[in-house]
């Protein structure tokens, strides 16, 4: 097995959930460290930690939903070790960073003996703890085109405790403004693989005026996009109710930020 930060893998080893013949540690490979910025794209390399990503100025300014998801993850100590790419490769449905990466159209860069390839994050994660990565491949980076013009984003998570807790449910909403306004909505901990609320997005994108009725209707449509399970953290019914409420709050937050102005 391949290890980056190891904050999942070492726990799985400790609980004997995995029993690999060997563990390949990437943490000494300099080329996989850091965050790059060129031609309007940000490159989050495989070993960039959640704290490094959250403290990157471009992330704070242009990708606020990703910033909030990084800060909602675990606690300040674990964020010094856990990596964004590692969280994507763990592919757990409750992975905080996955929803904003989906909204921001993140691309997963893969390398292996048969060459390099790039997948959209929605195609990379194929199920709970399952990815399209072959046994002899690694992810080298995640790339995101930074939004041009005015945009807004937020990640709203509920859990029993603010730190060190896994989401019961979370909603990510982003809005990009060019000639038209484009909303994207995705979720955490309510579907086996990453999904977007395409019907709710279509309603919002087609709306000529953003009033409470549209937001209500979009929040109701968001429920149709998810399929949560009942587990130790929350019931399916509670999660569905929370998705409706969090979607409502997330859309309103983005609309307020867009209308408050800011750099265009």
């Amino acid at each position: 097995m391949v290890k980056s930060g190891g904050t999942d893998l070492i726990v799985w080893l400790h609980r004997s959930l995995v029993n690999p013949d060997c563990v390949i540690d990437l943490t000494k490979i300099e080329q996989l460290k850091g965050i790059g910025l060129s031609n309007g794209r940000i490159e989050i390399k495989a070993l960039a930690t959640l704290n490094e990503v959250a403290s990157n100025p471009a992330v704070g300014e242009k990708l606020p939903a990703l910033f909030q998801a990084c800060m909602a993850h675990s606690d300040p100590l674990i964020r010094n070790r856990a990596t964004v790419v590692g969280n994507v490769c763990s592919a757990v449905p409750s992975g905080d960073v996955i929803a904003p990466l989906l909204c921001y159209g993140a691309m997963v860069e893969i390398t292996g003996p048969s060459g390099d390839r790039t997948l959209r994050i929605g195609d990379f994660i194929t199920g709970p703890k399952k990815t399209a990565l072959a046994a002899d491949e690694i992810v080298t980076a995640i790339k995101i085109a930074l939004p041009e013009g005015k945009s807004a984003g937020c990640y709203i998570k509920i859990s029993r405790r603010e730190a060190l807790d896994i989401a019961q449910a979370a909603v990510c909403c982003t809005a990009f403004e060019s000639v038209t306004r484009e909303f994207r909505i995705s979720f955490c901990a309510v579907s086996p693989r990453p999904v977007r609320a395409t019907e709710a997005e279509r309603l919002l994108n087609g709306a000529t005026k953003m009033d409470d009725g549209i937001v209500e209707a979009a929040a109701k449509l968001a429920i149709e996009a998810v399929d949560p399970i009942t587990d130790v953290r929350a019931s399916r019914e509670y999660r569905l109710a929370m998705i409706e409420e969090l979607t409502r709050r997330a859309i309103k937050s983005c609309v307020e930020k867009l209308e408050a102005g800011g750099p265009s």
Binding site: G5, G6, V23, D25, P76, L77, A163
Partner: protein
């Protein structure tokens, strides 16, 4: 599982440890004799095993010892100078921020890392910084007071030395 020799800078001294590939930094340091680090959950939840690694607070149960090759590691043992307790340790005692004591070494190291970065944190910053360290005794209020007191004492010490 092979044994491996690991060289690291532990509390300001260069030391070498011999440990198996699958040994965590927590176990390796405790075997070496540094028993300030506590083995709590071993799943990254409780923070009782917190050390400062290359300037950042980290949970040593989530680190394989081989990853610490060449690293600077600081533990509570490294805070004690000439047999005198560090101001953070003394503040925890003075404020009654220790009951069973199990979380204390982790709390002290996280506090040390916080004050290194932010010498006069406000209450919210203290709570946020300590949110990865669990205490089941104190209810945290005395711990927050101890951190504030540590910050005041350390600010006074650095003024005094100028």
């Amino acid at each position: 599982m092979r044994d491996r020799k690991i060289q690291l800078n532990l509390n300001g001294r260069s030391v070498s440890l011999v440990a198996g590939d699958n040994t965590t930094l927590l176990h390796a340091l405790r075997e070496y004799g540094l028993t300030s680090l506590k083995r709590g959950c071993e799943e990254g939840e409780c923070g009782a095993c917190t050390v400062i690694m290359n300037g950042l607070p980290e949970k040593s149960c989530l680190i394989l010892v081989a990853e610490a090759e060449g690293a600077d590691i600081l533990t509570v043992e490294g805070l004690i100078k000439d047999g005198r307790l560090h101001p953070i340790q003394q503040s925890f005692i003075d404020e009654g921020a220790i009951q069973c004591g199990y979380c204390t070494p982790g709390m002290v190291m996280t506090t040390y890392a916080l004050l290194l970065k932010n010498p006069s944190p406000d209450e919210e910053e203290i709570k946020e910084a300590l949110s990865g360290n669990l205490c089941r005794c104190t209810g945290y209020l005395s711990i927050v007071r101890a951190v504030k007191k540590s910050a005041r004492i350390m600010a006074g010490l650095s003024e005094g030395s100028e």
